[in-house]
Symmetry: C2
Subunit: 341 residues, 2 copies
DNA sequence: TTCTCTACTGTGAACGCTCACAGATGCATG
DNA sequence: CATGCATCTGTGAGCGTTCACAGTAGAGAA
């Protein structure tokens, strides 16, 4: 029976050593880089490993090394915002794969409720993972401080706001992306450019608004607070904000909306108000989410390099675990021109 | 320094025993259910645990018990289909949380490429996880057989197709959901009811089509193969299929589309063809994805109980790990009436 | 009283691995 | 020829836990 066969006690390093005619120590050395091992011994061990189907017991290894060779992907969102965000999927997938390439499993942790937060922190602080990939958008997240205090290597996705602790992070250049979009709107002849912001307790929200302001100034357009409407990244808030803008400033000819989801809502609002896009009002989004392709007109937007963000997060975290100091990595964005602007 | 403090060697069971004035054995017993422990001893141990901040070292425990107290969430999709599926997010999140409630971490594994498949199987077969939550839609997936052969407890999401092995699974009642929808279309007076199917190498695709066929027969409508157009769950395929249907059978007055994403595409196709929904053609979707709310008209669809599917998957897997035989769990769906039908 | 049974407690031995160290070998150097 | 050094190898100890077992105390039965 194959079931019975695979159920028998798996080979240990001892079995391999006996099979290869060497000592445990030599096998262990082969397993860990092969330094100070003669070619003959290494060959014998490799063959023995193949014959016995040996796979290292990570628990035994971890017990003595004190490392777990695993990493947590920690989501500290009270809302389910992130799970609805298509970018989040890309991030999670790419991180998983980047880690898998180094044979490091990813533990998915969700700390929505206070109870989950306690549980997960306990787990992490107990040293059951070597490091944490942190996705926490909101300002002053206590988890960030706790992890830092516990001395656990952390790399955040996006600059953690309201933190005194020095935390490494990887982020897209939100400000520069916003600049690109607003410059693009300006270049196409628009002069009354409004914006719908993201939540201003998130780095993206803050930075994109800053980029918008800077570019208006740079282009010599007057700063006009009535052209700024707050949103919370949700579709509905985009719709509301767009309506509010139309009311306050009916003469706008362009809107930079800080997320595609909100831009979708804005497109609807404009359609209902009888404004044509892009003829009457140009609309620029942010994220290049799949939805940006299915709107009518399709959405001109800013692409964030999620694949690179993920690989950089993993790289930075592993470096951090290896003892390097925390670092910030900012990656460039890209303007994607479609029909809406 | 708090950093220094938290960096010092964590408390072991030994420290707790000394602090509580008992032996290791007694502490261990308290940790594992507290049987055969006097109330006084238990109180002393609990207090000592609190004072020392002791957290069990899972590696040491696993080393001797042979169990890892962790579970893999394995995705074997060549395509990135699942990561674009909003349902997948719900599934992953709910599974994570259901497991977290039992203090069992979830390891996310993606086996898209052959290399990833090998790596992950090696990891799982080495006994590094106690069980696997499997998401694998396509027929005859070799991973399913491998896992079964290795004797690893597995629970699949959706009935695994083309498997001789007896695998436990949890699924929504796709067939019954399809029946509900078609009955609903019939009840609203439609008599030329077409369907856009899902991929027919997935359980959902097969079952939903079967439900469609059964209900037509039940209602005394003729079986007409020209009313059946294949899709692959993608938005584009829904659009194509709807266009093909219009050409082959211009007189259709309703379409049951096997997924919301495809239904979105179909709505577009109908809009372009100048057909009004629901006046000329009623459209029913499947999934109740977030997108179903943002279409115009909003989409009548079938809701799958993803929360329950997730908790049942976890419950079933834990039971399986505890030694129970594999079981199939089928959960009821629900018709969600909106504007499109 | 003596025996048995139950409830509880402590102890040594694992689990499979890495690490530090000691020992061995070969080769170049003084 | 002795010495040093680099390369390679084996051994014992120990990581923190659970498990099996031996042992103790107290209650109840004979």
């Amino acid at each position: 029976m194959s079931t019975a066969a695979s159920r028998r006690r798996p080979a240990t390093i001892h079995d391999v050593a006996r099979e290869a005619g060497v000592s445990r120590g030599t096998v262990s050395r082969v397993l860990n880089g092969g330094h100070y091992v003669s070619p003959t011994a290494k060959a014998a061990v490799d063959a023995a490993i193949r014959r016995t189907g040996y796979v290292v017991n990570r628990h035994a290894r971890s017990l003595i090394t004190g490392k777990s060779d695993s990493v947590a992907f920690l989501l500290t969102e009270p809302q389910e915002r992130f799970f609805e965000d298509p970018n989040f999927n890309v991030l999670l997938r790419a991180c998983t794969q980047a880690l898998a390439a180094q044979d490091i499993p990813l533990l998915l942790m969700i700390a929505g409720t206070e109870d989950e937060r306690r549980r997960n922190l306990r787990y992490i602080e107990a040293g059951h993972v070597d490091g944490v990939l942190l996705v926490s958008s909101h300002s002053g997240d206590p988890v960030v401080a706790r992890l830092h205090e516990a001395g656990v290597p952390v790399v955040a996705c996006g600059k953690p706001l309201g933190q005194t602790a020095k935390i490494g992070y990887v982020a897209a250049d939100d400000r520069d992306g916003a600049r690109d979009m607003v410059r693009h709107l300006y270049a196409s002849g628009r002069r009354r450019i409004a914006t719908v912001t993201g939540p201003l307790d998130t780095p993206g929200g803050v930075e994109r608004l800053a980029g918008y302001r800077e570019t208006l100034a740079e282009c010599g357009l007057p700063a006009d607070e009535t052209l700024i409407a707050p949103g919370d990244y949700s579709r509905a808030s985009g719709e509301d904000a767009a309506r509010a803008l139309l009311e306050r400033a009916p003469d706008i000819d362009a809107v930079f909306v800080a997320s595609d989801l909100m831009a979708q809502g804005a497109l609807d609002a404009f359609a209902r108000a009888g404004r044509r896009v892009p003829e009457d009002i140009a609309v620029g989004g942010f994220d290049d989410s799949p939805a940006a392709l299915s709107t009518r007109p399709s959405l001109t937007t800013i692409r964030q390099p999620w694949d690179r963000i993920s690989t950089e997060m993993v790289r930075t975290l592993l470096a951090r675990i290896a003892g390097e100091e925390p670092a910030a990595v900012i990656l460039p964005t890209e303007l994607v021109r479609r029909e809406s602007a």
